[in-house]
Amino acid sequence: MDAISRRAFAEQLALAAAAPWFLEEVRAQTPQPPGSKPQAQQPQEPSALAKALAEGVRLRYPDRFTADDLAAITRSIEGRLRAIERLYQTSLTNADEPDFVYAVYRGAD
């Protein structure tokens, strides 16, 4: 998988769980050969980390999920892990703070 398609794929997977419109937008950016039919995403075996994190979710709520539920959760976690890789490809310095400002509070005297 080359860098561009890897990035697009990672973002597409990452967004599947949280933002369907992002998913569609990202999919729309994925290059397709002219006249080709869109290809179904090849199923991939989730990583060991994704499986472990999904297991953590299961342990948190042990009686809640079917096998299909857990498979969907694992796939979604796998996608998010791939997106996280992209987040760390953007260079930041120690001085780059999150885009919110904490303000101290002092109530009425």
């Binding site: 769980a17 039919k37 987040l87 999150p98 919110f100």
Partner: protein, 466 residues
């Protein structure tokens, strides 16, 4: 008189000329909501008692010569994620069907202060789509249906506001957008939708999906109407620390120059042919006022990864009670019942990383947007999807287009969508303009110019006539 498809401006003129009253308008739209709302799954609660009281008060004031402005006596609806005293506020989700708040959202308070009359709380995708829905049937009110063809979706997550405005059930409505939830129903329903800059409209009293991405804004018949509504709901609110004050007078300006418009690379490539044709035709309508720059490219940054992380983490936190007690299982769309759990595997440093990346992203996108008055794209790359198919199955051959909705929502800049024609199945298509933060005036002026030369915004869906 047939009020259903008149604009706010036209209705206001009739009120000032004493050719109608606020009470007559409220009764008229309440009846339409009751009669036609179910046909499009557009309504959750009709606020008849409140509307009657508010309309009577408006009539008293108007008779006494106390004119509050262009919204005085005008009926409206809100997406059912805005807290409304004495009525349920359901967030479109079964677990919150009986939820009530003891005060109004700031936006409702401001519209009330402007004299507008709340007639209904409108349907929406459950939890504004935050759990990852992939189909129209994702609300306890059923799939939202576009009045142009009820076999097709009205768009989401502001499904009710889009359908209700299109069907003439309300003159305008308030929707919300975290990522496409105003622009999409505007396009799919053939109405005008204005997504304001993040912070311009107070979110106090609105359901939170992603605190740092949620925006409230109007859907209406015209850009002028949307500008009027925004003018009345915008501004600093002590109850929402993210809210800001800005001068919005520019929205009423006449166009005085040629607008430099960037067309993102691939915007009309490999999308539905009718959508592409309508997009180019729309630009042609404005060609004497536009300087078009083709094939512009947004800075290459991980917009999707940042948005996905923020929505997942903030959404899981906002609904942690549902995750904890398992009530997600009560949601309508099967994929929503598990969609929140993967976010439990998001680490705090990863979420913070996304927030840190967003700051240089904001600067880069602002530097890019400042080269233009606006970007123009087809709002959606295809017309609405059939209500009985998943989004992925709706138009599988449509693989192109430019990703603008996503990146511009992550950084919180404004956009407007106007109807610009019809496509497959005689479903409406939309044209969007997107600009720098707080350039709503420019967007409304551009959209007004387009609507002064076209009549797409005046078309009436046959299913809603009568």
């Amino acid at each position: 008189m047939d009020f259903a498809f008149l604009s706010v401006v036209e209705l206001g003129r009739l009120l000032r000329q004493k050719k109608t009253s606020a009470t007559e308008l409220a009764t008229y739209f309440l009846d339409r909501l009751e009669r036609l709302g179910p046909k499009f799954n557009a309504v959750v609660t009709i606020t008849r008692e409140r509307a009657v009281v508010e309309a009577a008060a408006a009539d008293r004031e108007i008779r006494a010569g106390k004119w509050r402005g262009p919204l005085h006596g005008i009926p409206y609806g809100v997406k059912d994620l805005l807290a409304t005293k004495d009525y349920p506020t359901t967030w479109g989700a079964e677990p919150y069907r009986q939820q009530k708040f003891d005060s109004d959202a700031t936006v409702i308070g401001r519209l009330g202060a402007a004299g507008a009359v709340l007639v209904g709380k409108l349907a929406m995708v459950e939890l504004a789509g935050g759990m990852g829905y992939n189909q129209a049937n994702a609300s306890f009110t059923g799939p939202g249906k576009t009045p142009w063809n009820p076999d097709y979706w009205s768009g989401g997550s502001s499904s009710g506001p889009g359908a209700a405005v299109a069907a003439g059930l309300v003159p305008f409505a308030i929707g919300s957008e975290t990522s496409g939830s105003i622009l999409t129903p505007a396009a799919y329903c053939g109405v005008t939708g204005l997504r304001p800059t993040y912070g311009l409209v107070s979110r106090h009293g609105a359901m939170a999906l992603a605190w740092t991405m949620d925006k409230l804004g109007p859907l209406g018949r015209t850009a002028e109407d949307c500008g009027i509504v925004l003018f009345h709901i915008a501004g600093k609110d002590p109850k929402d620390p993210s809210s800001v004050d800005r001068d919005l007078k520019g929205m009423a300006d006449a166009p005085t120059k040629r607008y430099r418009i960037g067309i993102p690379k691939g915007a009309d490539k490999d999308i539905q042919a009718e959508v592409a044709a309508n997009f180019r035709a729309a630009l042609k309508v404005l060609e004497d006022r536009l300087e078009i720059v083709e094939d512009v490219e947004l800075p290459d940054l991980p917009y999707g990864a940042v948005a996905g992380m923020i929505i997942a983490a903030e959404g899981a936190s906002a609904f942690d009670d549902l995750l904890k007690d398992g009530r997600l299982s009560q949601l309508t769309a099967p994929e929503d019942r598990t969609g929140g759990y993967p976010a439990l595997a998001v680490s705090a440093p990863d979420y913070l990383r996304a927030l840190r990346v967003r700051r240089p992203m904001q600067r880069a996108l602002d530097d890019f947007l400042k080269k233009f008055d606006a970007l123009a794209v087809p709002t959606r790359t295809a017309v609405s999807t059939p209500i009985d198919k998943s989004f992925r199955e709706g138009w599988p051959g449509v693989t192109g287009g430019a990703n603008v909705i996503g990146p511009t929502n992550v950084v919180g800049v404004p956009a407007i969508s106007v109807p610009n024609g019809f496509g497959v199945q005689n479903l409406p298509t939309g044209l969007s303009f997107t600009a720098r933060a707080f350039d709503e005036g420019k967007l409304v002026t551009l959209a007004r110019l387009y609507q002064s030369r076209t009549d797409w915004h005046t078309r009436r869906p046959p299913a809603a006539i009568g």
